[in-house]
Subunit: 328 residues, 2 copies
């Protein structure tokens, strides 16, 4: 059963992909499906003896180009549709033990090119409206394969969270005549208290309203709607600041910090004039609230959507700047 069902009480679609119950779950390193296929060992999902970066269709997709016919019929109240879209895997390295922070700047620069390429290619599919590259890192955020990799989802419509951001940006634009993210970046740069790292083109900072204690956003200093709008210099510096942030995270408590990382950018459908209100940014959300305690999404966050954070963003940014100074 792979299908989408509409929740008329929230106006959101939920995707069902029951075959994902049987997806590969924490295999031993010897049986990692994202490692290279080595002579004398069983073939993995990647038919090469070594590789730099590989991208391919997820074997257990939530969305696919030719989705099956839905299992149930909808009615006027309960909408049902096919789970059309794309789910790709992006393997960062053939070395099972690495993380993004361990990669060379050249390799991360390559990832930037691939994220951009896949955003363009997947986004050009008729049934795709929004492309989101993301990475779930660490068992505590639910990663079932520890080999360094990310995912790229091509959604059939704009997912609820980016849609809410776009609607807020539209309101802000109509009132102030400016891009809200441009205003936020300018304000954080001027204030400085929450800045973690910065280069000519990019800013990394703990948001004033951080939902996760050590949340870091990375955004372009000048308005860029999407990965495809980046020039060569932007791309080089994006690779640089992503490495900077991930290495800073690992220096914070001297272990490889888990996180969820996701790109927010322009929808790929042409329904509206998205360029003015889309400002490419990358959100890192680590689950830790201390070295050994996690922040859980429970009643207030999950049932209410109301986040309560235990760490001051100014204190978190100070700790991250100290960690960053230590690593250099």
């Amino acid at each position: 059963m792979t299908e989408r069902r509409y929740d008329p009480t929230s106006g959101e679609w939920v995707t069902f992909a029951t075959h994902r119950q049987h997806r590969t779950y924490k295999p031993k390193a010897d049986f990692c499906p994202l490692c290279p296929s080595r002579p004398g060992s069983p073939a993995t999902e990647i038919p090469f003896e070594s590789f730099e970066v590989v991208t391919f269709d997820n074997r257990f997709p939530s969305f696919s180009p030719n989705p099956p016919v839905p299992d149930v019929e909808g009615n006027g109240l309960f909408g049902v549709t096919t789970a059309a879209g794309r789910c790709e895997v992006l393997v960062y390295s053939d070395d099972h033990t690495k993380t993004m922070a361990d990669l060379s700047i050249e390799r991360v620069r390559m990832l930037v090119d691939i994220w951009t390429d896949r955003w363009v290619v997947i986004g050009s599919e008729r049934e795709v409206s929004y492309v989101m590259p993301f990475e779930n890192k660490g068992e505590v955020v639910g990663t079932t394969l520890s080999h360094p990799h990310g995912q790229i989802y091509g959604y059939p419509e704009i997912p609820p969270r980016p849609l809410k951001e776009l609607r807020s940006a539209q309101r802000h634009l109509s009132i102030n005549g400016t891009c809200v993210e441009c205003d936020v970046v300018a304000s954080e740069l001027e204030d400085g208290r929450r800045v973690v790292a910065s280069n000519e083109r990019w800013l990394a900072w703990v948001p004033f309203w951080a939902r996760f204690p050590y949340e870091v956003h990375v955004a372009t200093k000048i308005h860029r709607p999407s990965l495809a709008a980046l020039d060569q210099r932007d791309r080089e510096q994006l690779a640089e600041i992503l490495l900077d942030v991930t290495r800073t995270y690992d220096a914070l408590w001297s272990f490889s910090l888990p996180y969820i990382m996701a790109f927010h950018q322009r929808p790929t459908n042409e329904d509206e004039a998205w360029d003015e209100v889309s400002h490419l940014h990358i959100e890192f959300s680590p689950p830790n609230r201390t070295r050994d305690r996690l922040k859980f999404l429970a009643g207030s966050e999950l049932a209410g959507g109301a986040f309560v954070t235990d760490v001051s963003p100014e204190v978190a940014a100070t700790s991250l700047r100290k960690a960053r100074a230590k690593k250099i």
Copy 2:
């Protein structure tokens, strides 16, 4: 630092309560602050040698009646305000080892009265706009105290998730002239495939669009905007169906199933005509996708707000009905 900060990129408020970093964390049973104070032992938070049910202000509140002055100043872009509201703890029993499923029907009936009473009392406070009773059960959903208890938050504004439901219900009402939850309950009753339990006044079912594999909603069969609108018979039968659902959960895999449980109902402010679009319902969200595997909220759910579920609601409801039959 206890304050609220506004996120202009999403239009949501985030609450900061940094003293919560020092809240009591998984104390040994001998030092449980929610146990009765017993002669010869250190006093707990509850100055009685035994009790049935106790409610009191959370010692580590996110919201309080006299919140401190915010730490930072806001500006036109970044709003700041005090964290005014209420956070109460509701202890279900003086027996440290019990869960809701272990309580007597009389005790759960008492909880219904207390949820109702606190909804009215907290909701009548000038600074409170929405009252949400909820329970986080189990270490895997982040519970730091294992003694059976729930919480009641009085929010200064309607939290994002209930607000989205209310706006959807308003749209549905304006198009169809009906309450969307009334329509959903009628449709699920008629269909039957997702029904888990039912009595004269209440229905418990797996939603057609369940975000969590074993999610169960409990709602009144006839329109009731809030706990305060329930008559005696409604209250009795609510206690009955809550016990039915929690005991069914424990019978599913023969262990005490963790869950997040929350009440969604009418806002307590008078800004709008809420009665027509508010339909009291209780949402149970267990984190398990199998007996020993959890569903994590990762990139798609957290960064995108787009849920992907691994279990068919019809299959989940069938399993729950079987578990229910077993327990009786």
